[in-house]
Symmetry: C2
Subunit: 224 residues, 2 copies
């Protein structure tokens, strides 16, 4: 239930700014308001939707501030994790990472498929350092970032480029060069972040306005 809604938001099936009525969703999904409402609460917790009491719930616009925050947290965690790499890497995780990269290199890979592999790859990297459990926190904070990435990917940073950066990171890790791994990771993470402003200029309606004005009902994003 929650996973379904989260996916709809992350894949932009529910556009930023769009109203998400509990009644409407409940009817559409064939369940009661209760589970829908509980899912919405969770989504609100990670900032993907905004709930205005007695007014309505809306899909959050992509907030550059939150994107920057997610970026910072992710960078901090993933870079710091590299410092904790053990001298001998876990063979199973390593094999999974290499298999993952091979799949990323496959021609004609879909966008959503690539995203799933990307998630798995970064999670695996954290596992290599023994901090796999921290991925949950990173993942939760990463919602806004992911939406921005989906807007940017396929244009400035096609999957092939990302796959290449992934391989550079893993190669540096396997080679034992932590400094190189950190540099590659930083380059990779920043590449995503640098696209946000460009996207913002392209589709400003998807982003939060500068002032903190409360959204009104008519203020709906239509996929023009």
């Amino acid at each position: 239930m929650y996973a379904t809604l989260r996916r709809k938001v992350l894949t932009m099936e529910l556009a930023p700014g769009a109203p998400v009525s509990e009644n409407e969703l409940a009817a559409a999904l064939g369940v009661s308001r209760t589970p829908v409402r509980e899912s919405l609460i969770l989504l609100a917790e990670e900032g993907l939707v905004q709930v205005f009491p007695k007014v309505g719930s809306f899909v959050s616009r992509v907030d550059p501030v939150r994107v920057a925050d997610a970026q910072f947290i992710r960078e901090a965690v993933e870079l710091t994790a590299l410092d904790d790499l053990p001298s001998v890497l876990d063979a199973d995780v390593l094999a999974a990472l290499h298999a993952n990269l091979d799949q990323q290199d496959r021609a004609g890979i879909g966008l959503e498929e690539f995203f799933a592999l990307d998630e798995e790859f970064h999670h695996g990297l954290l596992q290599l350092s023994g901090h796999g459990a921290a991925w949950a926190t990173v993942s939760a904070a990463k919602g806004h970032l992911d939406r921005a990435r989906r807007l940017g990917l396929g244009e400035a940073s096609p999957p092939a480029v990302n796959a290449g950066q992934h391989r550079a990171i893993l190669d540096a890790i396997v080679g034992g060069d932590v400094a190189a791994a950190r540099a590659a990771m930083r380059t990779h993470l920043r590449a995503v972040f640098d696209d946000v402003e460009r996207i913002r200029a392209q589709s400003p309606s998807l982003f939060a306005s500068n002032d903190g004005s409360t959204p009104v009902r008519r203020n709906v994003v239509t996929w023009d």
Copy 2:
């Protein structure tokens, strides 16, 4: 509602392992099951309670793995933030931090009062680097850590020691010595973490058992 329950869990008023029945809480707090249930869902999200469908909800035992994770995330975020300190610090935030430290130094400060000041201090440090919004994520991941701290504080790491470490951090920051600030911060954060194992030996029933056995109803922690 959620804040009330969270406080009860963090202050150990609701002991780890204790059952938290929705009906019972609703009756005790004079509200319906619905708001209690929604609060419990949020608490479960941050790992403070565990919900076993059709069985019951229980306050999570302190999980050393999760404590270590929270520690790692916190260390990663707060140390990395120090690298982003601007050349000129925000005067207002700085003043608030100094005022905070003065309050920490007050004699006869209560434990809960100190905790609130500690939260405020670390949040302020993040604001100094322009990453104040990241505190929400750190705070959410920090639940397990906080419970462990409450167990340890007043014994091995009395408030006075922590206050001193806080001052060392801020002094290094004001002095522009990022390396010293990092060192002081690391010392401070590690001091908390190093106590966990000792506490565990002292009150093992408050911690998660090694095996992942599902708790049964009779398995209740009584404050012996």
